[in-house]
């Protein structure tokens, strides 16, 4: 069974004098991977809002019989 390799928690955070390199590596890794997950999630919300607005516009158009000059291409 693997055991904790450090005498104490403070030694764990010190990483044998390599704390700066080890923890910055893991921090950069965590930040960029979090960004890769959060960015598309936020983008999805934005896309759904845009598509909703477009559906409402189209509904209004079919009701009033009005059509956009570009056929609704620019959205």
């Amino acid at each position: 069974m693997p055991e904790f390799q450090f005498q104490s928690l403070s030694e764990f955070f010190a990483m044998g004098g390599h704390a700066v390199y080890v923890w910055w590596s893991y921090a950069i890794f965590a930040l960029i991977f979090a960004f890769n997950i959060l960015q598309p999630l936020l983008a999805k919300k934005r896309i759904l809002r845009q598509l909703q607005a477009r559906l409402v516009r189209e509904e209004a158009r079919t009701v009033s019989g009005f059509s956009e000059p570009d056929g609704g291409k620019e959205d």
Binding site: F4, Q5, F6, M15, Y21, F29, F33, L48, L51
Partner: protein, 254 residues
Amino acid sequence: MWQWFFKLGSPRLFYSMTDRYLPWLVWVTVFLMSIGLIWGLALTPPDYQMGENYRIAYIHVPTATLAMGCYAMMACFSAGYMIWNIKLADMIAKACAPIGATITAVALATGSLWGIPTWGTWWIWDARLTSTLIMLFLYTGIIALRSAFDSVDSGARACAVLSLVGVVNLPIIKYSVEWWQTLHQGSSSLSLSNTAANPPEIWLPAFFVGFGILGFFLIALILRTRNEILLRERRTQWVAELVNAVQRREQSNA
């Protein structure tokens, strides 16, 4: 006979399949990642030469491998788009580029942070580092190239060609440490085939982190591809129904 193959290229099918299996993928990834990271950071013995610093390897090696794997994947989907004109293949290839660029950046950054104490320098212009930097430029170039086109199809074709041309860089990265003299160590020290030099307590955590990072990549890729599907299929009936369903759910929650 090939109908199933083209059915796989249906964006709508991709959307509903990922809807069903994405939560499972998230749980497996979180499980693998938490075990692998705790194991690699705290439970595995330090390296006799590099001490605690080699723990960077647990993220540097899988991210660097995945950066190349992502490029190969992007090129395969680009080829799929060029050969069979499968739109979904282009959407996945488009999603690969920004993720691959950020993963390559992580591989370079963690490599630099590893290099400062072990090599005494954060950067040298050797074959391994330079060819990996070229891969980063290829990724960013592909992103920029796509945004330069107004037409979706022209942009997709141009990016597919550039992706396929850039494949020549992959074997250069892979074999750079064997072909040229370099500070960068070979792949033996964490290779699974060299079990004599690597006891399981070294490579098992790497195995967990490696598959965890692969899971992370797949989640990011699926999320981005789903967004692209919504945008490109916005005129279809099924997307309209989906948007309406989301709106109804929001209204009932409000």
